[in-house]
């Protein structure tokens, strides 16, 4: 059942590793954000700790937009989007393949950029920081599960990038805001009892977005 999804994932990752187009663009863009913010504002460490989670997620999601746009842009090339619609498979499987490839590429980029973030903002690594892993995972999955299907919608239009932003931001905002709040708790070392319920809420949104997208993807592929 997962054969189609795995085939699409392998194909996308092979193409990404060959060109490194998305990861490089995402990495450079994030680096620019960190450099600009670091050298423009001279603020105390306390203030920096307050704005750092927001900066981290600005870098993640704005760079993630590159990945999302790229994901279906390469399918549009040479009519491969139409080839997908012709495949004798469940549209949901195609969605899972594309979702997995976008998510893995974004997580790899996040793993590469996070050490730079730590260095630039002089944050101290501690065991407590491991709590960022489920936060980043949940926030990223929410962003990519919704972003993948909306990217497939937007790719049919001329103004793909604008439409994707217009559709994605209002819907994904709650997840991003909660992820920033959760990251703030971890980075400041003040993980309160509100942490896990909020993380669970992000997870619940992930499940809803993923399930709806899986079910609706067949309709998106049609003309």
């Amino acid at each position: 059942m997962m054969r189609t999804a795995i085939s699409i994932l392998k194909k996308d990752l092979r193409m990404e590793f060959r060109s490194k187009e998305s990861i490089l663009a995402m990495w450079i863009f994030s680096l620019l954000i960190f450099v600009i913010f670091n050298f423009t504002f001279e603020v105390s460490r306390l203030v920096m700790l307050e704005i750092a989670p927001g900066l981290l997620w600005v870098a993640f999601v704005f760079s993630g937009m590159f990945g999302l746009n790229q994901s279906f842009a390469l399918e549009k090339e040479n009519g491969n989007l139409r080839a997908m619609a012709l495949m004798p498979v469940d549209g949901g499987q195609i969605y899972v393949g594309k979702f997995l490839s976008v998510t893995i590429i974004m997580l790899m980029f996040e793993a590469l950029i996070f050490p730079i973030f730590i260095i630039f903002y002089d944050l101290h690594l501690s065991l407590g920081m491991f709590k960022l892993i489920p936060v980043i995972l949940a926030g990223t999955i929410g962003f990519t599960s919704l972003g993948t299907i909306l990217s497939a919608v937007a790719v049919h239009t001329r103004n793909q990038q604008i439409l994707l932003s217009l559709l994605l931001w209002p819907l994904v905002s709650p997840i991003i805001i909660w992820s920033v709040t959760l990251s703030g708790m971890v980075l400041s070392g003040e993980v309160t009892e509100a942490f896990y319920p909020l993380l669970l809420r992000v997870g619940a949104f992930d499940v809803i977005f993923f399930t709806l997208s899986y079910m609706l993807f067949d309709f998106i592929l049609e003309d």
């Binding site: 054969r3 189609t4 085939s7 392998k10 194909k11 092979r14 193409m15 060959r18 060109s19 390469l74 090339e77 040479n78 009519g79 491969n80 139409r82 080839a83 619609a85 012709l86 495949m87 004798p88 498979v89 469940d90 049609e222 003309d223």
Partner: protein
Amino acid sequence: MSVPALEVLGVSKDFGRIIALRGVSFSVQSGEFVSILGRNGAGKTTLLNIVSGVSRPSEGEVKLFGTDPSDRENKAKLAVISHEMFLYGNLTALENLQYYSRIYNVPDSKERIEAVLNDVELTHRRFDLVATYSRGMTQRLTIARALLHEPSLLLLDEPFTGLDQHAIGMLIALLKMQKEMGRTIVLTTHDLHTAAELSDRYLVISKHKIVKDGLMSGTNPETIRENFFSAETGGIQS
């Protein structure tokens, strides 16, 4: 009587105020080679999109092998060749074919890939990125990709566009081979000579509807040309 490979029953399609097809009806029997002739914008590509299940008609119905074209079983029996390549430039020919063989669950895929690459004379370039191929080579690989899962019905939308003489000759030879193998083929083209050489039957589509449905046997291209123009200006003939 056996179920036709393709039945198009009163199909109309509009995109808002733009009419693409009006009340189109015809059927294609298994093993038949039918050419659909018409000018640009006549509705040929829209018709093939509907037949392949990628697009839904505004009115009417299409049946592939007696059932809905969007059925997964039907999609597995279908292949489309058009001016769009359905290939990834950043993968090699072999990687492209391996990808499609997994999607279409092709049995003995290794042997089958070798066979289709051999048919289109691209074995020596199988490890090269498709982005480095010429237009003719890419179209040959497109044909290999389409034939990989041994489809029962081939839909060809202007497949000769942009090809050199060598590639056209190879495609014609491959299509003749597919016809001999009993595959059902529907071709849209402007090229009356090629249509006359390959087809059993031809349809003329003009102003979004079928205006001529004729047998090809013994008909030379000039007669088709005359029929084509008289059908376009005159009215329905059969």
